[in-house]
């Protein structure tokens, strides 16, 4: 944050990038991608998140401590999701054979 003033031009370019990604994800949803739907949609959402946090939320120019906070959120979310799915996705392994 500090005293860095982000020029209107930069903000406009981020806006255009975000709108383009929104259009892309909406159009891609109509194409049949099979199992790739979710990864593609999530990758686009992650790209949008990077644009918003790095530029609109100034993380790119902020002290590292703030970036560490953001990374902490991502890491803890990954533990929450990964841990839960690790359980649910492997439960069938414990079922008796033949079910």
């Amino acid at each position: 944050m500090a005293d860095r003033v982000i020029p209107t031009r930069t903000n406009l370019m981020v806006l255009i990038g975000l709108l383009a990604l929104t259009l892309a994800t909406t159009l891609i949803a109509r194409v049949d991608l099979g199992a790739w739907h979710l990864p593609v949609a999530l990758a686009i959402a992650a790209a949008k998140t990077l644009l918003i946090t790095l530029y609109f939320m100034h993380l790119r120019w902020s002290p590292g401590l703030l970036g560490l906070m953001a990374l902490g959120a991502v890491l803890w979310l990954a533990i929450l999701l990964g841990g839960s799915m690790d359980d649910y996705a492997t439960r069938v392994w414990l079922l008796p054979l033949g079910r």
Partner: protein, 216 residues
């Protein structure tokens, strides 16, 4: 030019060396809060992931009941509001009061447009009998797990709408303060910090949109 050029002396609070350190502490405090917000929504995203895993066909069916165009337009509206918020922060940093007021008002207005469109969507789900519980009248395929899908949809987008309503209230508060000339190029921490909160609401929607509208 209606800039604030008044020599408004803001001394840092006694525990800080200078105003920059004080501003960084304020931003850090907001980021810590935002992390707890990610955890709050993260719990719901985890429930979504587990139920999607267990009832995949119902979730595909559910996303077919979503108004794709309304969702995409609302995504664009919220993104535009993040842009105007970023511009408001920039105007505040430069001490341009009129620009700050204009961008804050646009941000709040776009937030209201989003809520209006969301309310219209809720109403059309209600008309289709897709509100889980006593109002549920949908009798098609996967009716049981589809209720779970719609329960999650209303819980997650509803919690998001509550956050946005709070955000609109906060931005309105900023407008009142800016009109009273409370912000200068040297002091505008509330604008920056509420800006961070506003952008996080946008980030959460960035994930809600594909998960409910696009998958399937």
């Amino acid at each position: 030019m209606a800039d604030i050029r008044v020599a408004y002396r803001h001394a840092p609070a006694p525990q800080f060396d200078d105003l920059v350190q004080q501003r960084e502490a304020a931003a850090l405090g907001m980021w810590v809060f935002l992390v707890t917000e990610v955890m709050l929504f993260g719990g719901l995203f985890t429930v979504y992931t587990v139920y999607r895993w267990l009832h995949h066909p119902a979730f595909v069916e559910g996303s077919r009941h979503m108004a794709l165009v309304a969702g995409a337009v609302n995504t664009a509206v919220l993104i535009a509001s993040s842009f105007t918020m970023a511009q408001a922060v920039q105007r505040a940093q430069r001490g341009l009061r009129r620009g700050l007021l204009g961008f804050l008002a646009s941000t709040a207005l776009l937030g209201v447009v989003f809520l209006g469109l969301k309310a219209y969507e809720y109403w059309s789900h209600y008309a289709e009998g897709l509100v889980p519980g006593a109002l549920w009248t949908y009798a098609g395929q996967h009716s049981g797990p589809l209720q779970a899908f719609f329960f999650l949809y209303f819980a997650m987008t509803g919690l998001h709408a509550v956050h946005l309503t709070v955000g609109i209230g906060l931005v309105t508060g900023l407008i009142v303060l800016a009109r009273r000339r409370r912000f200068t190029a040297a002091y505008h921490t509330p604008v920056e910090v509420i800006g961070l909160y506003w952008h996080l609401i946008d980030v959460i929607w960035v994930f809600l949109f594909p998960l409910f509208y696009l998958i399937g």
